[in-house]
């Protein structure tokens, strides 16, 4: 096992959550890495599709955005938003969506719109894009976050994409037919949600951190009583990620520096 960056273990941790045969709704950045790395390692029959309309493209080169011409090559179907988004909620498809956000609350509800209010805005993010649609209709959602107190908040400034709403069965009562967040993958560990209450808990933490640090970076009470240390990335996983998936390190960013 070599040294690795937080971004690398995030991509691989999310990739490990993918089952062979899943229909993956990928966004930009890390989710492209997770989806492609899973497809290359253990889930070759999983299919990636993009909200822009690219359905199961070959992905020879890493797309930088969901509208990259690299999502249009060797696809099963090239279509548009209406066609692609119609797959999200299809009852016979187990669609798993990868989403990121600026803020998350303890029920996996997401903010990717703004900080402050419309009247007194403090910060602006791009907005939902297809995130609210995926969070509303997909079979399951895997969320990427930078683990920081200002991002893991008691109350979202703006509620863009639905997770488990107020917890318990609130999601069903609101009218959603299925879905909800499965896991939150951060630069420190992987969180999941309690079966009954739908509150977030710490499942695994990466070898370079510990539950206390994660609690300190979380702005709401986080159950760590089930937490175990994550299995570090294998040499094979790292090789695929670095040499095949993102050789230009377009999304991976700078490589890890060996402290020795």
């Amino acid at each position: 096992m070599g040294i690795y960056t937080a971004t690398e273990i995030m991509a691989l941790s999310a990739g490990r959550l993918v089952h062979n045969g899943d229909i993956l709704f990928a966004g930009t950045g890390l989710s492209m890495l997770a989806a492609t790395v899973a497809k290359r390692i253990h889930a070759p029959e999983s299919v990636v599709f993009f909200e822009t309309g690219g359905i199961d493209p070959r992905l020879e080169e890493l797309p930088l955005t969901v509208a990259d011409p690299r999502v249009m090559v060797g696809s099963a179907v090239n279509s548009g938003l209406a066609d692609a988004l119609s797959l999200l909620g299809h009852p016979k498809l187990k669609t798993i969506a990868f989403l990121g956000a600026a803020q998350i609350d303890c029920y996996g509800n997401l903010n990717s719109t703004l900080l402050g209010t419309y009247e007194h805005p403090e910060q602006r993010f791009p907005g939902s894009g297809g995130a609210c649609d995926a969070a509303s209709m997909a079979y399951g959602v895997i969320i990427f976050m930078q683990h920081q107190r200002r991002r893991f908040v008691e109350k979202l400034d703006y509620f863009t994409s639905p997770g488990w709403l107020e917890g318990g069965d609130a999601r069903r009562r609101a009218g959603f037919l299925r879905g909800g967040p499965i896991a939150v993958v951060t630069n420190l560990g992987v969180m999941k949600f309690h079966e009954q209450t739908k509150r977030m808990y710490l499942e695994t933490y990466y070898p370079f951190t510990d539950p206390e640090k994660i609690v300190a970076e979380t702005g709401f009470p986080l159950d760590v009583s089930f937490a175990t240390v994550a299995i570090p990335p294998s040499d094979e996983e790292l090789a695929v990620l670095r040499q095949t998936v993102d050789p230009q390190r377009l999304i991976l960013g700078p490589p890890a520096v060996d402290p020795a």
Binding site: V66, P126, G130
Partner: protein
């Protein structure tokens, strides 16, 4: 259908205050020639309706042409996860922004195209997209602003079920889309993904298509399965080789990472953005002149390989 220059199309078909649908998506097939020409002609108070945009939105908002935007996503992918000019204009309250989702915007264009009074979805239930409005209450019902952003409806087919989200249709004054091929009669062919360009064009009162190549109509009619818009829906066609630059156009060219990175460097700063307009927008009264400024070397760099539809191995850092 009428063949026009960009200058003629903007002068005769686009008015201040018009509601305009921009085709393309973030870094792909943005109607950049039209955006630059609207800026050159000083169009004001535009009302943009888009799903996920994009470089054209950045230029138009930054140049002060835009008053309000209905949008799902304002960004340019990795080059600007949130559009710099969009963010700045929003925070400084130079534009009013109404947030929807991509599906909601797409459904609204479809509803407009099909003459539906409204369209419903479950997407967004319980969220602030449904609860909050970014447009001022005074603007509601004025001009082309819908009376409500959206509303919750009882499901008429399941009275015991949960509410659904009802959205107003969109019928923009103008749709600006960039196609790879247009036939001499006006038939349009988009290659790669169509995003919501077809829905946007069908919903709009006036459709202006810029295109890489104007080809014999018979050439497109040999394979009609690949065509997307019939001639009679198209009001004006503008020949625009590299008309989406610096965004990509599948089978013709990639996005231009060098230009996008240059834009990223200057976009945060008002003065540097103004200097960008002076350097890259105002001087050029033709696409040819603009392309001369970009330069042969950079255009060759991004030229698509027909086997891939993009420029394989392009340095995209």
């Amino acid at each position: 259908m009428k063949l026009m220059t960009a200058a003629e199309a903007v002068r005769t078909l686009i008015k201040d205050g018009d509601q305009i649908a921009l085709g393309g998506f973030t870094v792909n097939r943005n109607p950049m020639l039209m955006a630059r020409e609207m800026i050159r002609q000083g169009k004001r108070h535009l009302y943009l309706v888009v799903h996920s945009h994009g470089q054209a939105l950045e230029l138009l908002v930054g140049a002060g042409c835009v008053q309000r935007v209905e949008i799902a996503y304002g960004g340019v992918g990795r080059f600007a996860p949130t559009g710099f000019r969009f963010k700045k204009a929003f925070l400084e309250k130079k534009i009013e922004v109404e947030d929807y989702s991509n599906l909601q915007m797409t459904l609204r264009f479809m509803a407009g195209a099909m003459g539906m009074p409204f369209v419903v979805t479950r997407s967004g239930l319980g969220t602030d997209i449904v609860r909050l409005s970014g447009f001022s209450p005074e603007s509601r019902g004025q001009g082309r602003v819908p009376r409500q952003k959206l509303t919750l409806l009882k499901d008429p087919f399941d009275p015991d079920g949960a509410d659904v989200v009802a959205l107003p249709p969109l019928n923009p004054d103008v749709a600006l889309v960039h196609a790879q091929y247009v036939g001499e009669a006006g038939t349009c062919r988009f290659c790669g993904l169509t995003f919501a360009d077809i829905e946007q064009a069908k919903a709009a009162k006036t459709v202006i298509v810029t295109c890489e190549e104007i080809v014999p109509e018979a050439y497109l009619r040999r394979e009609p399965d690949r065509n997307s818009l019939p001639p009679f829906l198209v009001d004006a066609v503008v020949a625009a080789p590299f008309g989406a630059h610096p965004t990509a156009c599948h089978q013709f060219y990639d996005y231009d990472p060098k230009h996008m990175n240059l834009f990223k460097q200057i976009a945060r700063d008002d003065d540097r953005f103004k200097a960008y307009l002076d350097e890259w927008v105002y001087p050029f009264d033709s696409q040819e002149a603009y392309l001369e400024r970009v330069g042969v070397r950079d255009l060759l760099e991004i030229r698509a390989n027909p086997g891939w539809g993009y420029a394989p191995g392009l340095d995209r850092r």
